[in-house]
């Protein structure tokens, strides 16, 4: 039984491993954070959020200040998919962002059918109004 945890991650409940949903790579034990099996890149935020105002002229440019914040990009080491981003204060330890209770997860899914395609959820549709 595998549980789809995020857009790019699933947990194999039998092996208790994080897996990449894009390339099926086994990332690492689900007893620890998936980030521990990722590649990390320390991105200058100006590369993603380009200055709209001329940085030569102005203190504030629409870009984040790279001395104040960085973007940590987490890549699957096998396929290079960007699994998560983290806007982080320079030097702040990366967050253990998802820490599932594996026995509880197993017990919960023991009562469910395996879900192989993500459940998207209902769309918001215009109300048809009241009529007879």
């Amino acid at each position: 039984m595998k549980v789809l945890m995020t857009e790019y991650l699933r947990i194999d409940l039998d092996t208790e491993q994080w897996e990449c949903r894009v390339c099926d790579h086994t990332i690492g034990t689900a007893a620890k954070g998936y980030k521990e099996g990722m590649l990390v890149y320390n991105r200058d935020p100006r590369e993603i959020h380009p200055p709209i105002l001329d940085p030569e002229k102005y203190r504030f440019t629409f870009s984040p200040d790279p001395e104040w914040v960085r973007i940590l990009e987490y890549y699957c080491p096998h396929c290079g998919t960007m699994v998560e981003t983290e806007y982080a204060i320079p030097g702040h330890p990366p967050l253990h962002d998802m820490e599932p209770d594996l026995p509880a997860l197993r017990a919960q899914w023991a009562k469910r059918e395996e879900v192989k395609e993500p459940v998207v959820g209902p769309a918001v549709v215009p109300d048809q109004g009241h009529n007879h």
Binding site: I48, P50, D97, G121
Partner: protein
């Protein structure tokens, strides 16, 4: 003296003595301040004997549903009245709630539209009235009475919000309450509009109305009204909206009385209690469907609105069985003299909004939807401030708290097969708009804001881009209003309005909805000014989701030394319709061009000077290399992103003239980028060896915990901190004093102080 110093075993008082001490303290209370017993509790009051008896007598689901629908329609009718007749801009865009409360003060059924943050925090003032005024001989609660309230330390979001509260009696017995609450705006604070960012203590925040009686025999008391009118900048609005709220309450009262006449008080009381208990039980059932897990996130505020600094909102969300616990410990300590603190009820209200608008929008509106969800905070923190701290800009902390909650919740929802909405990246969370005030072209004294605060860009969803300029996070059904109508009343124009700000993007597989540009200039008054109250000019105030990016940053730009109306008349070709062109090309020769963070204190604007800002983008969802190239081209065609930025980020190859996509070249470029990622990425264990630091960086004023050590809260530098459970004052220096000190240091270094005596 020696006898007094001899330790003695303390005597344990008997139950009679405890009762006597309690009576003595109650009888001699000198000040009924905000009551933590009321303000810290967001759960439903215990079921009363009366409610129990009524539920035994009337339990038929059809009868309950019929009465609930009837009361709901009455609440919506009252809401409509306030929205249509209210004078405050907030009323017009639906910054309103009307509701029916149980006799114990719980909000049982609320209006369906408008600002749902209210659903979790308008009940506190009624509980204050019940606790303190019902049996107080000098006040009392009688048929025909009405109570007013705005002080957020006693309930509601912030001091701009005013409530009118009426007890409803049936045959002399209190059966429920009705109330109407509106974001009125102006409240006599040190800056116009009711949300002063310059407030350094609660005394700077204007009217402080704890709940008190202002209506008797359904008539507004003129002496108190006149006092209130003298206390604010908009005396006519104060009167008009008190009347509007009173009559909305009376309409709801009429609908309740119709129900009492047809079905009797037991049916009404049973309906109110059953509705709340059913919603509460359903929330616990839905939570139980989520995975048992802990999710951690943090959101950074990059200013106090007075100065840039780094303020952490720390959030650990844990779900166990049917319990859901928001743990905000580790968030910044409260600021003693800055107004970005919030009362904890405000944080809870915004978290309720996450569920009522973005997770379970089908649930009946009321207090019960958030009642079973738990919230933990540090005392005297920015998300649970003391009653001595200013909180007039609490929006900064409740909005970033909301985003932390929204970001964490999304990570639970993905794997849950039972969904009521799509998984959603964080929506933009700052009120990027102009707050304004002064004397209008008609000689009226005004103070309020542009409804553009409601144009926040929405976060992307798991299968869709985010919507542009959609709605505020505190009211998904609110409107951005008609600027042209507003301009009939105020002496300024938005020369550019609702034009998307190009390249202010949040990329992803599905990109965030973008924000639009606003360029405002005063025209017909010499006594008019603006302020802006937002964070996020140096650090984005949201996070991306599942590989999507957050938004960028949003500064304030000013152009001074010109009269743009003369330019439009005589040299119209010089005017440009984007901040980018005006600031980079500097087309007006005599002008000065400056940029600032978005915490502009109230500033008088001269005719024709430009104040320029942009609304923000919601966060992106997923890896941007998976974005459909057709979607990237559509964004170029719609002016959301420039071709060069699109090609560089999304690795889409296209003909610059026709924008036709070269699919093969795009696939190759994306493959190459994935390989580049693998080449440049560093294994986690290696990465943290150089990245992780034991303390916050010394070049930043940092507030809050560092890493997972939530017991230690930093207060501006690596060597200044407090124990999380031991509050300490946290004063900020006036930004002008900071600047003067910097300049004096430079003069000293140059030997240019001229021997000035100290």
């Amino acid at each position: 003296m020696s006898e007094m110093n001899t330790p003695v075993t303390a005597k344990t008082p008997s139950p009679e003595e405890v009762a006597l001490i309690k009576k003595f303290l109650n009888d001699t209370t000198l000040f009924l301040g905000p009551d933590p017993e009321i303000m810290q509790n967001h759960d439903l009051m215990p079921r009363t004997e009366m409610e129990d008896e009524c539920m035994r007598k009337v339990g038929d689901a059809h009868t309950i549903a019929k009465i609930r629908d009837r009361i709901q329609a009455g609440c919506d009718e009252g809401y409509e009245m306030v929205e249509q007749m209210g004078a405050a801009p907030g009323a017009k865009w639906g910054d309103v709630i009307t509701g029916v409360y149980s006799a114990s003060g719980d909000l049982a059924i609320a209006s369906a539209g408008g600002v749902l943050i209210f659903s979790a925090l308008v009940h506190h003032p009624i509980k204050f009235i019940i606790k303190n005024w019902v049996n107080e001989p000098t006040v009392g609660v009688r048929e025909g009475d009405g109570f007013i309230h705005n002080d957020s330390r006693y309930g509601n979001v912030h001091n701009t919000d005013q409530s009118m509260i009426l007890p409803i009696f049936h045959k002399g017995k209190l059966v429920c309450w009705v109330a109407s609450t509106v974001h009125e705006g102006e409240n006599g604070a040190i800056e116009p509009g009711g949300m002063p960012s310059m407030a350094e203590s609660p005394c700077d925040e204007g009217l402080k109305m704890c709940p008190f009686k202002v209506v008797e025999n359904y008539q507004i008391k003129r002496d108190i009204l006149t006092f209130l009118q003298n206390s604010v900048r908009e005396p006519k609005l104060q009167y008009e909206d008190m009347k509007v709220k009173l009559f909305a309450c009376l309409r709801i009262k009429q609908r309740i009385e119709e129900t009492l006449n047809t079905d009797g008080p037991e049916a009404l009381i049973s309906t109110l209690r059953t509705t709340m208990e059913n919603v509460r039980a359903e929330v616990k059932r839905r939570v139980s469907q989520w995975p048992d897990m802990t999710v951690r996130t943090y959101i950074i505020q990059d200013s106090t609105l007075r100065e840039n600094c780094v303020v952490k909102i720390n959030c650990k969300l844990t779900k166990t069985g049917d319990r859901l616990i928001f743990d905000f410990r580790g968030s910044s300590p409260e600021f003693t003299n800055r107004p970005t603190n919030t009362i904890v009820a405000g944080l809870k209200g915004m978290l309720a909004q996450v569920f009522l608008c973005y997770v379970w929008p089908d649930l009946p509106r009321g207090q019960a939807a958030f009642a079973p969800i738990e919230v933990i905070t540090d005392p005297h923190s920015i998300v649970n401030c003391s009653y001595d701290a200013p909180n007039s800009q609490s929006l900064m902390s409740i909005f970033t708290g909301f985003t932390a909650g929204q970001h964490a919740v999304a990570k639970f929802l993905y794997s849950c097969p039972e969904k009521y909405t799509k998984v959603h990246a964080p929506t933009f969370n700052m009120i990027n708009t102009f707050i304004w005030g002064g004397v209008s072209q008609h000689g009226e004294t005004l103070g309020n804001l542009c409804a553009d605060l409601n144009g926040m860009g929405a976060g992307a969803r798991s299968d869709l881009d985010g919507e542009h300029g959609l709605a505020p996070i505190f009211a998904t059904m609110a409107d951005i209003g008609e600027q042209e109508l507003n301009e009939e009343d105020v002496p300024f124009l938005q020369l550019v309005s609702k034009k998307m700000t190009r390249d202010a993007i949040a990329p992803g597989k599905y990109r965030g909805g973008q924000g639009y540009t606003m360029i405002a200039a005063t025209k017909d008054s010499e006594q008019w000014g603006f302020m802006t109250t937002c964070q996020g000019a140096k650090i984005p105030p949201i996070q991306g989701l599942f590989g999507g990016y957050a938004c960028g940053c949003y500064p304030l730009s000013k152009v001074k030394g010109i009269d743009v109306y003369d330019i439009l008349l005589n040299e119209p070709h010089k005017f440009k319709h984007s901040i980018e062109e005006i600031m980079n090309e500097q087309p007006f020769e005599e002008a000065t061009y400056t940029t600032h963070h978005m915490g502009m204190g109230f500033e008088i604007s001269k005719r024709g000077e430009l104040f320029m800002i942009s609304q923000g983008a919601g966060a992106g969802y997923g890896d941007l290399l998976e974005r459909d190239p057709a979607g990237v081209i559509r964004d170029i065609e719609e002016g959301l992103i420039s071709p060069g930025v699109a090609e560089r980020l999304y690795k889409v190859k296209f003909d610059p003239a026709t924008l036709a996509v070269n699919q093969e070249a795009t696939a190759a470029a994306r493959d190459a980028e994935r390989k580049d990622r693998i080449a440049r990425g560093v294994p986690y264990a290696e990465f943290i060896k150089t990245w992780n630091k034991p303390t916050p960086p010394s070049h930043l004023q940092y507030f809050g915990c560092w890493g997972d050590d939530v017991a230690k809260l930093y207060m501006g530098s690596p060597d200044k901190f407090r124990d999380a459970n031991t509050p300490r004052p946290n004063y900020m220096v006036h930004p002008k004093d900071v600047r003067i000190a910097e300049l004096e240091a430079r003069l000293h270094a140059l030997g240019a102080m001229g021997g000035e005596k100290q």
